[in-house]
C-alpha cells in the first residue's frame, strides 16, 4: 500500500507543471468568448498537448499513445485542473470501443487521429424513448449491400455540434431479445441525412444536442465488433468513462472551494460556525472522492479492468459537485437570485445535471445493488 508517487511519476509531474507554465493558454476565457471559439480552442489545445507528448499517455504506442499506466493520466489531469487550462476532449474513452473491439485497420484509422485531436467524437447512445432504459433504443440500421441505412433519433449527444464522428448504437435485429439486437457503428457527423440540433439545459446554455438520422448510409466497414455485440461494447466503454479524468475534476473542485473561502472571508462570514462546518464538510467529500478514485486507479494499474463498483466514485463525485455548488449558491443566494451573480446560478443549475447525465444516481444505485451487492431483480 503506497500513495506516494515514485521517482518517475514525481518527475513526470514536475515536467508537466513546467511545460504547462510555458504552453498553457493564458486568459483564454476572455480570448475565446463564444462557444464556437471554445470548440476551436479545445482542438488547438489538444494538438498542442499532443505535440508536447501529453495526450494518450495510457494508450498503446502503436496507436500514437505513450504506453504508460493510468496513474500518468491522473497526474496530467490533476495538473491540468490545477493550472485551470481549457479542457480537452472528454470523449476519448469512446476510443476504448475501437481499441477493444475494432479491427486492426479500424484502430489504425481512428485512434492516432483521435489522440491528435483531428477526430472529435460524440456518443450516440440515448434516445427520446431510451434514457435509463438504454437497451430499448429504436434507431434502426438495415443492411443494404455493403452499407447500413440508419433511421431514428439520438439524444444527449454532447459535443455533436463540434464533433467529427459519432459512435452509434443501433438496432439491427428487431426479433432478438432487446440487449442482443444492438450493433455499434461509426458515422461521420457531417453527412447527408444527419441533422444536429442543440438542446439548451436549465441555465440556458446549449450544453448538449439531439441528432436526427434520415436514411443515413454507413459502410459495413465502419461497424465495430459483430452484429448484435453493441450492448457489450457500450457497457465496456461506459466503465471507462470515469477514472483518471475525475482527478482533473477534483483539482477544479478544490480550486472552486478555495475561492468560496476567500469570498466568505471578504464578506466577513468566515467565522460563522455553520459556514465553517459546511465548507469543511464539502472539502471532506472531495477528499473522500479523491482517495476512492486513487484506489480505483491503482486497481486498474494492477490489472483489474473498471467494474460496476465504479458507481461508488460516480455517486461520490455527484455528491461532491452538488454539495459545492449548493454551498456556493447558499452563500450567494441573493446575488444569484437577483441576477447579480449569473455564474453562481448557472453553476448551481448545471450541477443538477450531474445526477442525471452518464447514468442517473438511481441507475448507479441499481448497478451497485444488482452487480456489486448481488441483490435480486
Amino acid at each position: 500500500m503506497d500513495y506516494l508517487e515514485n521517482a518517475e511519476e514525481a518527475a513526470f509531474r514536475m515536467g508537466v507543471r513546467a511545460w504547462l507554465a510555458e504552453n498553457a493558454p493564458k486568459d483564454w476565457r476572455a480570448r475565446y468568448p463564444t462557444e464556437d471559439d471554445l470548440a476551436r480552442l479545445h482542438r488547438e489545445w489538444q494538438r498542442t498537448l499532443y505535440d508536447g507528448g501529453y495526450v494518450g499517455l495510457s494508450w498503446p504506442v502503436d496507436y500514437g499513445g505513450r504506453g504508460l499506466s493510468a496513474t500518468y493520466e491522473a497526474i496530467l489531469n490533476d495538473e491540468l485542473g490545477k493550472a485551470d487550462t481549457p479542457r480537452i476532449s472528454f470523449h476519448n474513452y469512446l476510443g476504448r470501443a475501437i481499441f477493444t473491439y475494432g479491427t486492426e485497420a479500424q484502430k489504425q484509422r481512428f485512434l492516432p487521429p483521435m489522440l491528435r485531436g483531428e477526430i472529435q467524437w460524440c456518443q450516440g447512445f440515448s434516445e427520446p424513448g431510451a434514457g435509463s432504459d438504454l437497451a430499448s433504443l429504436r434507431t434502426s440500421a438495415v443492411l443494404d449491400g455493403d452499407h447500413y441505412v440508419v433511421n431514428g433519433q439520438k439524444m444527449w449527444t454532447s459535443g455533436a455540434q463540434h464533433a467529427d464522428w459519432c459512435i452509434l448504437l443501433v438496432r439491427t435485429d428487431r426479433d432478438a431479445p432487446k440487449h442482443k439486437g444492438i450493433t455499434c457503428l461509426l458515422a461521420p457527423v457531417n453527412q447527408p441525412g444527419i441533422t444536429v440540433r442543440p438542446i439548451h439545459i436549465s441555465d440556458g446554455s446549449p450544453e448538449t444536442c439531439e441528432m436526427f438520422f434520415d436514411d443515413v448510409r454507413v459502410p459495413v466497414t465502419q461497424r465495430i465488433g459483430d452484429p448484435g455485440a453493441g450492448w457489450r461494447i457500450a457497457m465496456t466503454v461506459l466503465a471507462f468513462e470515469r477514472g483518471p479524468a475525475d482527478v482533473g475534476l477534483i483539482a477544479t473542485f478544490q480550486t472552486a472551494l478555495a475561492k468560496l473561502e476567500t469570498y466568505a472571508e471578504e464578506r466577513a462570514i468566515d467565522r460563522d460556525p455553520q459556514i465553517r462546518q459546511a465548507i469543511a464538510r464539502t472539502y471532506v467529500i472531495g477528499e473522500v472522492l479523491r482517495l476512492n478514485v486513487v484506489e480505483q486507479l491503482s486497481l486498474r494499474n494492477a490489472g483489474r479492468p473498471p467494474g460496476p463498483d465504479g458507481s461508488v466514485a460516480r455517486l461520490l463525485l455527484t455528491q461532491a459537485e452538488q454539495a459545492l455548488r449548493s454551498l456556493e449558491f447558499r452563500l450567494r443566494a441573493a446575488d444569484a437570485v437577483s441576477g447579480r451573480a449569473p455564474d453562481v446560478l448557472a453553476n448551481y443549475l448545471r450541477s443538477r445535471t450531474i445526477s442525471i447525465f452518464g447514468g442517473t444516481s438511481e441507475i448507479q444505485k441499481n448497478i451497485l445493488a444488482g452487480q456489486v451487492l448481488g441483490l435480486p431483480r
Binding site: T71, E261, Q277, V284, V294, L373
Partner: protein, 346 residues
C-alpha cells in the same frame, strides 16, 4: 503510487478474518459465551498485541496493517479491548517505556487501558473529573496524560475502584474512573509531532473499527434481504431496499477509502499531514456510521428492532466509534482551522 494491499497484507487480512470468525457475536446472549481470556492469548500468539513493537525504531507492522488486523474483529463484534491496548502500547513505545513493560503487553501478560476525557474526544489528564476508562477490561491500569506538564507525558494509573458504566456499546464496556493513589510517570514526554502521530493513529483505529462493524453488517443485511420473503418475493428485489443498501455501500466504501489513507499516513507522511488525513477520515466516518447504523436496523424491519437481534449491537458499537477520539464536529472544526491557517500563510 500503488494504493492496493500487497499480497502479504491480503494474507494478514485473511488470517485475521478466519480468527475473527471464531469470535463472532450474533446476539447479545452470545456475548457471554466468548472466552475472552483465551481470545486475548490467541491475539498475543498471533502477534497482534505486539504489532507496533519497534525494531531499531521501526514498528513491526504499519498502522495500515494494524487496521487490517482489527477490521475483521470489529466486523465479528468481538468483545475485546484491542483498540485501547494497541493505542496504549503505541503511546508507551513513543514515550520510550521500558522494554519489560512493552514485552508484558505484547505477550498478553498485562493489559493497560486508556483514560479518556468525558466527551471521549481524547486522552484525559490524570486529574480530570469524570474521566472514562476505555478498553479497560482485564487491565490493572490505564494510561492518561500528566496534568500541567506542558507536553504529552504519559502516566499510568491504577484502576482500582472503577465503576462500570451502562454504555451504548455492549461489546466494549466503559467505566468511570475513581481517582486514587499510584500515579506513575512513564517514559519521557512526547514531542508535539510524535503525539500528533499517536492522535492520528487513534483516529484511524476508531475509523477502522467503524468500517469493520458496518462492512460485515451490510453483508449480513444484504443476505437477509435476499432471503426474507414478503409479497412472495425477496425484499431485496424492492428498489427502496436496494437503494438503501447501495447508500450504505457508498458511505462505507467512502469511509474505507478515507480510513486506509489515514492509516497509511500515520507512518508515511509528516505528522501534520497524518493528522489532517485523520480529520478527513473521521469527518466522513462519524456521520456515515450514524446513518449506516440506522439503515442496518431498518433493512431487518421489525426483527431488527428487537433486543435479541444483532443489528443494535452494531449500531451501538458504531455509536462509541463515532465519538471515540472526536466526532465530526470536532474534526470538521480542526479542518476549518487548518484551512484558515494555510490561507492566511499564503
Amino acid at each position: 503510487m500503488r494504493a492496493v494491499p500487497t499480497p502479504d497484507q491480503e494474507m494478514l487480512r485473511e488470517t485475521m478474518a478466519r480468527f475473527a470468525a471464531t469470535l463472532a457475536v450474533n446476539s447479545p446472549a452470545e456475548l457471554a459465551k466468548i472466552d475472552r481470556d483465551a481470545a486475548w492469548r490467541d491475539l498475543a500468539g498471533l502477534g497482534v498485541l505486539g504489532m507496533r513493537a519497534r525494531d531499531g525504531g521501526v514498528p513491526a507492522a504499519s498502522a495500515y496493517e494494524v487496521t487490517l488486523a482489527i477490521e475483521p474483529l470489529a466486523g465479528a463484534l468481538a468483545p475485546l479491548p484491542l483498540t485501547g491496548a494497541l493505542l496504549a502500547y503505541e503511546l508507551l513505545a513513543l514515550a520510550g517505556a521500558d522494554a519489560a513493560l512493552l514485552a508484558d503487553l505484547a505477550e498478553g501478560r498485562r493489559r493497560i487501558g486508556l483514560l479518556l476525557a468525558p466527551d471521549l474526544a481524547g486522552l484525559a489528564d490524570a486529574d480530570a473529573p469524570g474521566a472514562v476508562i476505555f478498553d479497560g477490561e482485564g487491565a490493572d491500569s490505564v494510561l492518561a496524560l500528566a496534568p500541567g506538564n506542558g507536553g504529552a507525558q504519559p502516566v499510568i494509573l491504577a484502576v482500582e475502584g472503577a465503576a462500570a458504566m451502562e454504555g451504548a456499546d455492549l461489546t466494549r464496556p466503559l467505566a468511570v474512573w475513581r481517582p486514587g493513589a499510584g500515579a506513575k510517570l512513564v517514559g519521557a514526554p512526547l514531542a508535539a509531532d510524535a503525539f500528533a502521530r499517536w492522535a492520528a493513529f487513534a483516529v484511524a483505529l476508531a475509523c477502522a473499527d467503524l468500517v469493520g462493524v458496518l462492512r460485515d453488517g451490510l453483508a449480513h443485511a444484504v443476505d437477509y434481504a435476499k432471503t426474507r420473503i414478503q409479497y412472495d418475493v425477496p425484499i431485496g428485489s424492492f428498489q427502496a431496499v436496494q437503494h438503501m443498501c447501495a447508500d450504505m455501500l457508498v458511505r462505507i466504501e467512502g469511509a474505507a477509502s478515507a480510513t486506509r489513507y489515514a492509516a497509511w499516513a500515520v507512518d508515511a507522511l509528516p505528522a501534520a499531514d497524518a493528522l489532517a488525513a485523520a480529520h478527513v477520515a473521521k469527518s466522513w466516518c462519524a456521520p456515515a456510521g450514524e446513518a449506516a447504523g440506522e439503515m442496518l436496523m431498518q433493512v431487518y424491519g421489525g426483527i431488527g428492532q428487537t433486543w435479541e437481534h444483532v443489528a443494535h449491537l452494531r449500531a451501538r458499537r458504531v455509536m462509541l466509534d463515532r465519538l471515540l477520539f472526536g466526532d465530526e464536529t470536532h474534526h470538521l472544526n480542526a479542518i476549518a482551522d487548518n484551512r484558515d491557517a494555510v490561507r492566511k500563510a499564503a
